[in-house]
């Protein structure tokens, strides 16, 4: 029985390590990074995961050994311990140092990712979140929102590849989360605020937009797409959208 209990902990460690090891090839991992910051985010993520893995394997392995040893049927007296100041000091300083290092290491990347907040660049589009859909508003040729040449599309945000794209995020009702897993981009969208975020897509393709804040009953179906196209295609798309926006009703309704 005691062997079984201890084995349970060993199996837990082995199972977790195995699932992480096979995750990428089985498609359990994150989608391939497709933005300029994606690889840096992944490096940071992998580094932190490795640190946690060492701690996890150490702690649970040690626990398994304690279970094995502690359940021996002997008359050995239990050890009474009223604390060990040196041990506590060591683990406080070591973990503190690790956390501080992480905080410093990620600063540059964090500042890069948050740099749209202060920038005075005009956003390419406005993202309007609502229960339960994404709508995208483009400012048109004058690059100013809320003018006569704006146009809107639900669901699909089209952006040029290889360029820094700034978005303005707004919500009509509750807090939503603008999450593009392939871009490693996640920014909450707050009602009453016009927050900004940015990304630079590295490759042409279609990427999922999901909502990362539980926003109500339809949260799970609050889906959208980002379509990354070449600059020329983007310009052509924009002019065709503008033409369609000023339809006289004779083609599709």
């Amino acid at each position: 029985m005691r062997a079984l209990t201890a084995l349970l902990f060993v199996a837990l460690v082995a199972g977790v390590v195995w699932s992480f090891a096979v995750a990428p090839e089985r498609g359990w991992w994150m989608p391939t990074s497709a933005s300029s910051v994606g690889d840096d985010v992944d490096r940071l993520f992998h580094g932190i995961t490795a640190l946690i893995a060492v701690a996890f394997v150490g702690v649970v392995g040690w626990l398994a050994w304690l279970v094995w040893r502690g359940t021996r049927a002997t008359n050995e007296r239990a050890l009474t311990n009223h604390g060990n100041a040196r041990l506590e000091g060591v683990w406080t300083i070591v973990t503190g140092a690790i956390l501080l290092t992480l905080a410093i290491v990620q600063l540059a990347l964090w500042n890069t990712m948050q740099s749209a907040r202060a920038s005075d660049v005009k956003p390419l589009a406005r993202v309007v979140a609502a229960q339960f859909e994404w709508r995208f508003r483009y400012p048109g040729v004058d690059a100013v929102f809320d003018t006569a040449d704006d146009f809107e599309t639900p669901y699909r945000l089209v952006v040029p590849v290889g360029e820094r794209v700034t978005l303005e995020l707004r919500s009509k009702d509750v807090i939503h989360g603008f999450f593009v897993p392939a871009f490693r981009l996640k920014q909450d969208v707050l009602p009453g605020s016009a927050l900004r975020t940015w990304f630079e897509a590295r490759s042409i393709g279609e990427y999922d937009v999901v909502c990362s804040q539980l926003c109500g009953a339809g949260h799970y179906r609050m889906a959208g797409k980002i379509q990354v196209v070449a600059r020329a295609d983007f310009d052509a798309w924009q002019s065709s959208m503008q033409l369609a926006w000023n339809s006289n009703g004779k083609e599709k309704p």
């Binding site: 005009k122 956003p123 406005r126 609502a130 229960q131 339960f132 859909e133 709508r135 400012p139 690059a143 100013v144 929102f145 809320d146 003018t147 006569a148 704006d150 146009f151 809107e152 639900p154 669901y155 699909r156 303005e168 009953a217 339809g218 799970y220 179906r221 609050m222 889906a223 926006w245 000023n246 339809s247 006289n248 009703g249 004779k250 599709k252 309704p253």
Partner: protein, 365 residues
């Protein structure tokens, strides 16, 4: 169960309706056969004292339209060909049975099994989900209060209805959406036939297969007229210029021309005197009810949220053809006393640009 909610005490009602709203739309996928078409409340009310008539109405409806697990439209051979006529990719639209299952997964939670706008999540939504059963659809590209074409329903599925709980459904494939539009049309025709049957029964005292078929062909003929009712504009859409906006401003406030201010108010805030009255409790309440019996408020045009679409042509169609089911009039069809058109198409464009300008503050981003 949700129909009995009103009997519960306040707090219990709150908890139960919260549960219903939370759980009601959890994307359940009912097994075929577990859903059943019921008669509408109005039919049940009308046949309260004649259960035999109720049974024969239900029998004829089922004969014409099948059951929820086996929906079909038997009354018209024209259905499949008319369905194929108004779009180009008819090849692989799911049939009514498959679309019925998609409807149960995607739409039923709000719109209900029969399209009565009474699904489990409908409680507490404002505006309420549309009840399709009277055949009235507010946002189409058509005039004369026509029944929608499939393309009109499809556009609502593609674009959603801004400012309401109706989202867009672009995450479904276009053929799935076409199938859903078809199913919505099916439910709508079914609901209309049901009310025609009740009216026929009231008039003639009985219902049989012949009267049912006649009712179905009367209803279906309304839907076949729609293709000739499209509102379009000859030529390019006039641009928004300060002159046109000023002209639109004048028309908006001209009681003999646009007369928009009577409902939408002088500032477009939706507070015009004609749209509101003082209720029995001394509070201001909407003066009009819509075709579904709900109080209807004029749109606050300063928000820039346009349910039927925000393109200029969408607003043009709203002003030209009115909005079925509510008091918004068809200005494009209105005439003066001597038979001349009340406003010209160009004047409608001026109104469109003026209305759009109310929400175009030109904020520097």
């Amino acid at each position: 169960m949700h129909r009995n909610l009103d009997r519960l005490p306040g707090p219990a009602r709150g908890v139960v309706s919260l549960l219903l709203v939370t759980l009601g739309s959890c994307g359940f996928d009912p097994t075929p056969g577990s859903l059943q078409f019921s008669l509408s409340k109005a039919t049940i009310e009308a046949t309260r004292d004649d259960l035999a008539a109720r049974a024969s109405i239900e029998h004829e409806i089922t004969a014409l339209f099948g059951t929820a697990s086996d929906p079909r439209f038997t009354a018209s051979d024209a259905w499949p060909s008319a369905a194929a006529a108004d779009h180009s990719t008819s090849a692989s639209i799911p049939d009514l049975v498959r679309s019925g299952r998609n409807y149960a997964r995607e739409c039923l939670a709000c719109h209900g099994v029969e399209g009565g706008g009474d699904g489990p999540s409908a409680y507490g939504l404002n505006p309420k989900p549309r009840d399709f059963r009277n055949g009235i659809f507010k946002y189409t590209a058509l005039k004369d209060q026509s029944r929608p074409r499939r393309l009109d329903i499809l556009r609502t599925l593609e674009q959603g209805v801004a400012g309401t709980s109706m989202p867009n459904f672009q995450r479904l494939s276009s053929t799935e959406r076409e199938g859903l539009a078809e199913y919505v049309r099916f439910l709508s025709v079914r609901g209309e036939v049901e009310s025609v049957l009740v009216a026929t029964w009231k008039e003639e005292g009985e219902i049989n297969a012949d009267t049912a078929h006649e009712a179905a062909s009367i209803v279906w003929s309304r839907w076949l007229k729609s293709d000739s009712k499209l509102v379009v504009f000859d030529g390019d859409v006039p641009l928004s210029t300060p002159e046109r906006i000023a002209r639109g401003d004048a028309l908006f406030h001209d009681g003999l021309k646009g007369n928009c201010l009577s409902c939408h108010g002088a500032t477009g805030a939706g507070d015009g005197p004609a749209a509101w009255k003082i209720g029995v409790d001394g509070k201001r309440e909407p003066a009009y009810l819509d075709a579904w019996g709900e109080p209807i408020r004029p749109r606050d045009l300063r928000d820039g949220v346009f349910r039927g679409g925000a393109r200029p042509i969408d607003l043009y169609r709203r002003i030209y053809a009115g909005i079925p089911g509510g008091p918004m009039p068809a200005l494009g069809e209105a005439q003066t006393k001597d038979g001349a058109p009340l406003v010209t198409p160009d004047e409608i464009w001026c109104l469109v640009h003026y209305v759009r300008s109310l929400s175009q503050r030109g904020e520097a981003p």
